[in-house]
Assembly symmetry: C2
Homo-oligomer: 444 residues x 2
């Protein structure tokens, strides 16, 4: 087996013969010289094929961008070019003088999109239709490197606080949250449903492990065509027990967000630079009760939302602006939502049950998380289910959780893709999902 | 907010007043003294309520096992009891003299199962029907602590080798792998399918990122009632590019398994002890071509499997025994499967196309992973699809991946729950899944 050198490692190997693998990004012919830019998962480097190497020149003949190749060559110092932009992620000051070159994966067609451009300026539909190839373009590639680090950051942040990672079923015997936005499955000889959230199961696991988190698929039959909705996404959920109030849950989420962005800032500098993006400042996140937010929207932005209603996406955007101006924060917690606009399991305030112990987290004007303290008293739970005109029998298994001594608890559901969308300023959430799904899109 | 002390931390706080939270595991009345065992996510500790504290005695009156409580008390050194077994995870030598006690979660019913027993000896159905409560029992709880560490270990092992974490869609426009074991979804006005694996999507992502891994839901409409099948599980997938042969993939999987078990061994000692389980020895994993395995089965165990067929579960068990005896290994790679019994995208051997560059990994007699080098030449791919009597048009998006210069590559699909099942010697895979799903079971 030939020992492979990664491009990032070449900088320490001047004068050595190395074996590289990767894709050709660029080909330039200069008289009898051929220059390639080679790309692997760690960076980019220039290959030089000189006319003295007749067999290599021969092998290089048909090689065009996106050929997958293996290369043997000598690592040489490379004279700095005047006035040239530094190539991000490219090892400074080395190039490879090729002594052997082999094609291991040959494109069989002309490429439908040009992934060598620094910005492809594609329509969303075109981008997604050619998603697999588009992933080779620098900026598109960077999105999912950041996404991967974000997943790692969430995992580390949760474990550092004693949360146990769980996996809960996505096929359910009944639609959890009610409403209409669930998908129905043909399950052998009966019907089943795709999980709209891990809500009930994370509460169940909390009732044994206190603190649990899950990274998992969430399915929503949203017949909407917005820049923030898809029918399938990856939820970052958490639930924690033995809390005194919902503020503890928000404090944990705040700590988690700051940790995550610190991690991304440390590990994804080059990627963020491509988007001119910066991670949010590590400042305290303001909490604004929804009623106060409505007053601010009216006074400051002339936007009226009737009391007792939920905030809309324009309202979120404006309150995000306000938080930035007033508190220097890219985040804002909206709190104390009317009980009526939240899920039935949200805990009503003890003194004013019309207000719930709930919150949303808005990041740069977009709701990225929703959470609450939950009802843990089974009697109260049965009462609120009835008050909503629902049948407690439908929620038998759920109510069961609270019959064996469940502590006060709360948590959140966080949309992983929305975090990356807003961090990078992507126009649509679909750009932050490898292969997104919406009403129309089931392929590729 | 009251500063909470975790039980594990009490050992360093002798003489201090602390606030604890958790569930009552055991209650013992000794004359006017009341003893409780309190359990939180970090351990167990004894609470002592003395008759001098009239209000605490009063508060303690109705408290029975599985009440969720908060406790204030003085940490005291505890005289070692003669002949008593040490309680795993219990801080040595301390107990809490209670000064205040409050119930925060009251069980509303008699408990249907007794989770204070060190072994509940429940039928699988009973265990799963009462899963949420059962999670509070020490051994059951330990399973998912190990499971959580296993997920972490996989993540760390993959990232250490330069694999990028991806999330791929679980709702598909067509059933990926073919066959009949897929679930159909009503997707707005058309049909869709639940992913039987992330196979095509991880290959697509590989074609840009070289090395990718995914931890995600896998759905199989298996109408089987075995100890190793469920309809939904968590797959640990990986795919790696620029390989020279399938041996590189096996070597990576071998390294990954050893890393994972090293991690579990380091982090889950107390949990493993409850099962009398040990992690597999870190010895090289033997590779046995399937034809040789058949010869061994025949000669050594009198078991005949016709050439060209797949090995069955009894065969796996026996070959597992053989590997243990012969090589001291808890694992064995079975290699060179007949092309006909593997998925169409497995690479046929260049000299003998009836044999594929594929493998299964058997752990303690159970197949836990399956993998191969894949076909990366689109012409060959179209040919094998036709040879199987399938229509290349159905696989249009998949074939597309290989039209833009895909390198030689391979990977694996690893069943996360089977790892824990065999590590702990659990009779059924369902014991290793929080809320398992099978033909009959959709609740809780």
């Amino acid at each position: 087996m030939t020992e492979r050198t990664l491009i990032r490692e070449t900088v320490g190997k001047v004068g050595e013969l190395v074996h590289l693998s990767g894709w050709i990004s660029i080909r330039r012919d200069h008289g009898k010289l051929v220059f390639f830019e080679l790309r692997d998962r760690t960076g980019r480097v220039q290959l030089v094929v000189t006319p003295e190497k007749g067999d290599v020149i021969e092998a290089a003949k048909g090689i065009r961008p996106e050929y997958a190749v293996t290369v043997t060559g000598l690592v040489k110092e490379r004279p700095a070019k005047k006035g040239s932009e530094p190539v991000p992620m490219s090892p400074d000051g080395v190039e490879i003088e090729v002594t052997a070159l082999a094609v291991v994966g040959k494109p069989s067609e002309d490429l439908p999109i040009d992934v060598s451009q620094s910005d492809m300026h594609l329509q969303l539909e075109t981008l997604l239709n050619h998603r697999t190839l588009a992933l080779r373009q620098e900026k598109v590639a960077a999105i999912f490197r950041i996404y991967s680090e974000m997943l790692r950051a969430y995992d580390e942040a949760m474990r550092a606080e004693g949360f146990l990672e769980i996996k809960t079923p996505k096929i359910l015997g009944a639609s959890t949250e009610g409403g209409a936005n669930f998908f129905r499955i043909k399950y052998f000889d009966r019907d089943a449903y795709l999980a709209q959230s891990p809500q009930f199961y994370k509460q169940a696991a909390m009732s044994a492990y206190e603190r649990v988190f899950e990274v998992g698929s969430v399915f929503r039959a949203e017949p909407s065509y917005t820049t923030r909705h898809v029918t399938e996404y990856t939820g970052l959920d958490a639930e924690m027990g033995f809390i005194e109030n919902v503020e503890e849950v928000m404090a944990m989420l705040e700590k988690t967000m700051h940790r995550m962005f610190r991690h991304i800032g440390e590990h994804c500098q080059a990627e963020l630079m491509l988007f001119g993006a910066t991670v949010p400042a590590d400042v305290p996140i303001p909490r604004i009760p929804l009623a106060d937010a409505f007053a601010i929207l009216k006074e400051k932005y002339g936007k009226e939302i009737p009391d007792g209603e939920d905030i809309d996406s324009e309202g979120e955007r404006l309150i995000g602006e306000y938080a930035k101006e007033q508190y220097g924060s890219d985040f804002v917690f909206l709190t104390q939502y009317p009980t009526a606009v939240r899920a039935f399991y949200s805990l009503p305030n003890a003194e004013n049950p019309k207000i719930s112990e709930s919150y949303d987290l808005v990041f740069r004007g977009l709701e990225i998380a929703s959470g609450a303290q939950r009802i843990h008293d089974p009697e109260l739970l049965i009462r609120v289910i009835r008050e909503r005109g629902l049948d407690p029998d439908t929620f038998k298994d759920y109510i069961e959780i609270f019959k064996y001594g469940a502590p006060p608890h709360g948590g959140w559901g966080l949309g992983s893709e929305r975090i990356v969308q807003k961090l990078l300023g992507l126009a649509s959430i679909k750009e932050a999902i490898l292969y997104p799904r919406d009403v129309k899109r089931l392929t590729p």
